[in-house]
Amino acid sequence: MSRVDSIDELFNNQALELRRGTVVLATLGALHTSQYGYQLLQKLEKSGLAVDAGTLYPLMRRLEKQGLLESRWDTSDSRPRKYYQASAQGKELYNRLISEWRTLNNTLEKMITERDTL
């Protein structure tokens, strides 16, 4: 009954787990300035953090519902666009997550170099 996943499949699953939290971090960071969804998508892609549109849009909506993002519709352009920006709470969460990220990164970095020098 038990199915053995190929190493590629296992890698993809684990890599997805690793990335999951970082998308929130990057989104909150990038949205310190007001942007609409597609702008953010392209910005993240340019920085090397490609995210599916199907993941990013629902995520922004969820963050907005949690009070971490604020949004407003801009109808001055020919295409009406929804602009998102991090709220005060969103910025606070971002700062705390960043320090958490740095701690984790340092710890893991130390573990990895220790292992390499063995």
Binding site: Y36, G37, Y38, D52, A53, G54, T55, Y57, P58, L59, R61, R62, K65, W73, R79, P80, R81, K82
Partner: protein, 324 residues
């Protein structure tokens, strides 16, 4: 453009109406931006197609948007749900089927086939009902604010359950014994009181009715004693001295009973033998004699084996206890 509208509809129809318009507007703008970016040199339709395919299955996108629970029962309830369901399913349907079978046997003039069909039908029906209602209750609990009490309290070592008592006699073995004995007893009673029930379509009994003056009631008493003995085996679960003695005694008595029955009595109803002969059975007396003898011999061998096995098990347990 029609493709875009259809895609957006396919996504938003799964969302709560409060979100639909907002999501639709945002998706629309995004898709148009994406198409504008990727349409260099391509026809608009090809660009739209590739953008929509990049966004992927609208059902999956809708799932990402929606916060509703996309499962019937979540992990916090699943363990309890499974435990309750399994416990109910392996007891209640069998009890119901047995009750239906017994009431069919002694109640109406129905046939053995219909009785078994009714019992199976009732058992399956009850099983489906149980599965449905238990699942429904847990489905509702999953969506209410209640949590299993185990997850509310902080766990301490004191909450660990005791280890199950070691058993030398499995409960399954004792239960099967009880069921077999009861079935055999009921079978004998039915053969006498409802001979037509087994499809022979006649009121002629297979076994000699004369036996019911003394031998058959005595045998039923013996069966009843064996039944009680199996209940004790089920409750005690270990080969105690008294259980071993009674087991051996019961085997010896029933072996002697069967041997003397076969040697002194006419077991099969002579009238039944005549009917079989009329139906074309050759050498009916020989056939009957041999089937009775073989059955009796098989029963005696089984009983002897039972004695040997019991004593051997007891001896093994005894030696282990001495070692310990």
């Amino acid at each position: 453009m029609n493709l875009i509208e259809r895609y957006i509809y396919a996504v938003t129809q799964h969302l709560p109406s409060s979100q639909q318009e907002d999501v639709a507007k945002e998706l629309h703008a995004t898709i148009e931006d994406m198409v504008a970016d990727s349409s260099q040199g391509k026809s608009e339709e090809i660009a739209i197609t590739s953008v929509l395919e990049e966004l992927g299955n609208p059902m999956i996108l809708a799932q990402q948007y929606s916060n509703a629970k996309q499962y019937v029962i979540g992990p916090q309830w699943f363990g309890i749900y499974k435990q309750i369901l399994v416990n109910l399913l392996r007891t209640v349907p069998f009890i119901v089927a047995t009750i239906v079978l017994l009431s069919n046997m002694f109640g109406s003039k129905s046939h053995v086939g219909t009785a078994i069909t009714n019992a199976l039908g009732a058992g399956c029906g009850v099983a489906i009902q149980i599965a449905f209602w238990v699942t429904l209750v847990f489905f509702i609990m999953e969506r209410s604010d209640t949590k299993p009490t185990e997850f509310n309290k902080s766990w301490t070592v004191a909450m660990l359950p005791e280890l199950p008592k070691p058993r030398q006699i499995s409960s399954f073995e004792s239960l099967m014994g009880m069921i077999m004995i009861a079935a055999f007893g009921i079978f004998l009673i039915l053969l006498h009181f409802k001979p037509g029930w087994f499809g022979t379509n006649s009121s002629v009994e297979v076994l000699n009715p004369e036996l019911w003056k003394l031998w058959m009631p005595a045998f039923l008493v013996l069966l009843f004693a064996d039944f009680v003995h199996h209940i004790r085996k089920f409750v005690v679960g270990n080969w105690t001295r008294s259980l071993v003695i009674i087991e051996v005694l019961l085997c010896l008595i029933s072996s002697m009973f069967i041997v003397s029955l076969v040697m002194t009595q006419t077991v099969v109803n002579p009238e039944f033998v005549n009917i079989m002969a009329e139906k074309g059975l050759e050498n009916p007396d020989e056939v009957v004699k041999w089937s009775v003898n073989i059955t009796a011999a098989a029963l005696v061998i089984l009983n002897t084996w039972d004695i040997v096995e019991t004593l051997w098990k007891k001896a093994k347990v005894g030696s282990i206890e001495k070692l310990a």
